[in-house]
């Protein structure tokens, strides 16, 4: 059984249909990247999976249970955690307080304060600092650590490198690589294709709210993905949708 399944999911922003007829499957421990041009619907799709955005149609199924109408905080308790674009930390609270808020969802597992500080050692000296006073890289590390504190089964990461210095991006991804080895399933939205390819097993390309192609990271090329960004469908473009997750 797949850990996460989306069936014909649609999501809207007012009159605008941002996500159309998405079918997607994610296996236990699988790492999936979603790429696509601005406005393709990537962030809306992640938010819809997390319950932060209401699905206008379709089903979101976690481990066989339909969670389409389950609110975000209950999805977190079921094991779905989102690291939102822009981090969205509680700015007036310390790093420690941000982490403890996530702990309140009640899930237990390998991730606790000690474990996340080991994964993100740059947070140790700032542990009592207010989140609003942190650098962009420290804020991103805190946001990921906060999501991990919920011991998620599915971790949704939205543009974790956006707005960070190259050095901060390196540090965040170095930490991510170590946590990915723990077997948490990941859905990563990332503009930097090389990072996405280095971090995940499978890549899905979105265009105008739809999935227009997907493939294993070792089997698709930048050129093929670029074709989907621009909406071309030449003979050598990305393969059409291929089956389900392993």
């Amino acid at each position: 059984m797949n850990l996460l399944e989306l069936e014909q999911v649609e999501a809207r922003h007012g009159l605008l249909v941002a996500v159309r007829g998405i079918d997607l499957r994610l296996g236990e421990g699988e790492r999936l990247a979603i790429v696509g041009a601005n406005g393709a619907g990537k962030t809306t799709l992640l938010r819809t999976i997390a319950g932060a955005h209401r699905a206008a149609a379709g089903r979101v199924v976690l481990d066989g249970t339909d969670i389409t109408v389950v609110p975000a905080h209950r999805r977190a308790a079921l094991g779905v955690a989102l690291v939102p674009e822009g981090r969205r930390l509680f700015a007036s609270m310390t790093i420690e307080e941000n982490l403890r808020v996530a702990q309140s969802c009640g899930r237990t597992g390998p991730w606790d304060i000690d474990a996340v500080l080991e994964a993100f050692p740059q947070l140790k000296p700032r542990f009592k600092a207010r989140a609003g006073s942190l650098s962009g890289g420290e804020q991103q590390a805190t946001a990921i650590a906060r999501a991990l504190m919920a011991n998620p089964r599915v971790l949704l990461l939205d543009e974790v490198s956006l707005g960070l210095s190259p050095l901060a991006v390196e540090r965040v991804y170095a930490s991510l690589q170590s946590l990915l080895r723990t077997g948490t399933a990941v859905v990563l939205v990332e503009q930097d294709l090389q990072r996405a390819m280095d971090t995940t097993d499978r890549i899905v390309c979105m265009l105008e709210g739809r999935i227009v192609g997907e493939g294993r990271t070792g089997q698709i090329t930048r050129e093929q993905i670029m074709q989907t960004y621009f909406g071309h469908r030449p003979a050598d473009a990305l393969p059409e949708r291929v089956g389900t997750a392993p």
Binding site: L15, A37, Q194, F230
Partner: protein, 243 residues
């Protein structure tokens, strides 16, 4: 110095929002009756450039010329009367008015036409954009495609020589976008030059014979669509650099 043959030209444009440089030394020219697409990743400066051309933003440095005249100091309404019209990313029709009344307002205030001519131009624009049957509908009751059509029609009634389109295809289905493309092609046949920002590139290149790609406030490629889309710097701008 701008090319004297250019219908619209922006030269050495710099624009900042606080500490952030949004446009840096941007040169852009549009020939009469040309159709140019502007592409680029999020935050590239595309909409800011369009705003500078339309007069919604005054550049920190650089000049904008239209038909050989320096229009840098003119505001958007003044430029509209000269023949520079634009559509917005998010259509915002005048609520509480019918579709026809929306066009009348644009024709009289934006285009400067008298009552009779404004009415005639509004009917023509409605017909051209396939909205005649919706003339008496309240604008706020329209769906997304019809709001986009209205946005286009509202620009058209000002009798533009240049139409600046900002993501007018966003959110439309392929079929709807195809209808919009057909309408925009008719505008080209009428001699209206077009500058069109669009993320949906396969739609854009059905109209534009030239593409400009922006990244981080600069123009990084300019030429025929297939050449621009294959340009290594353009690919890197969208996908990040290779290691």
């Amino acid at each position: 110095m701008a090319d004297p043959g250019a219908l619209l030209a922006a030269r050495s444009i710099n624009m900042r929002f606080g500490a952030l440089a949004v446009l840096e030394a941007v040169d852009f020219e549009l020939a009469a009756n040309a159709a140019v697409g502007i592409v680029g990743p999020n935050g590239a400066g595309k909409t800011t450039l369009l705003n500078v051309l339309a007069g919604a933003l005054r550049p920190a440095a650089g000049r904008v010329h239209f038909r050989g005249t320096d229009i840098t100091s003119l505001d958007a309404a003044e430029r509209c009367r000269l023949g520079l019209a634009r559509s917005h990313q998010v259509p915002r029709p005048f609520g509480g008015m019918t579709v026809f009344e929306n066009l009348l307002v644009a024709a009289s205030h934006g285009g400067g036409f008298g009552r009779a001519e404004a009415g005639a131009r509004s009917v023509d624009a409605l017909r051209l954009c396939g909205m005649l049957r919706l003339a008496n509908r309240r604008a706020e009751t329209l769906g997304l495609l019809d709001r986009k059509r209205l946005e286009l029609a509202r620009a058209l009634v000002t009798d533009p020589q240049v139409l600046l389109l900002d993501e007018i295809g966003a959110g439309l289905t392929d079929g709807e976008a195809g209808e919009l493309v057909a309408t925009i092609r008719v505008l080209r046949e009428r001699g209206i030059a077009i500058v069109w920002i669009e993320h949906i590139v396969h739609i854009l290149i059905q109209v534009a014979e030239r593409l400009v790609c922006m990244d981080a406030g600069r123009i990084i490629a300019d030429g025929k669509p297939q050449a621009v889309l294959a340009n290594a710097a353009v690919v890197d701008a969208y996908l990040g650099g290779r290691k």
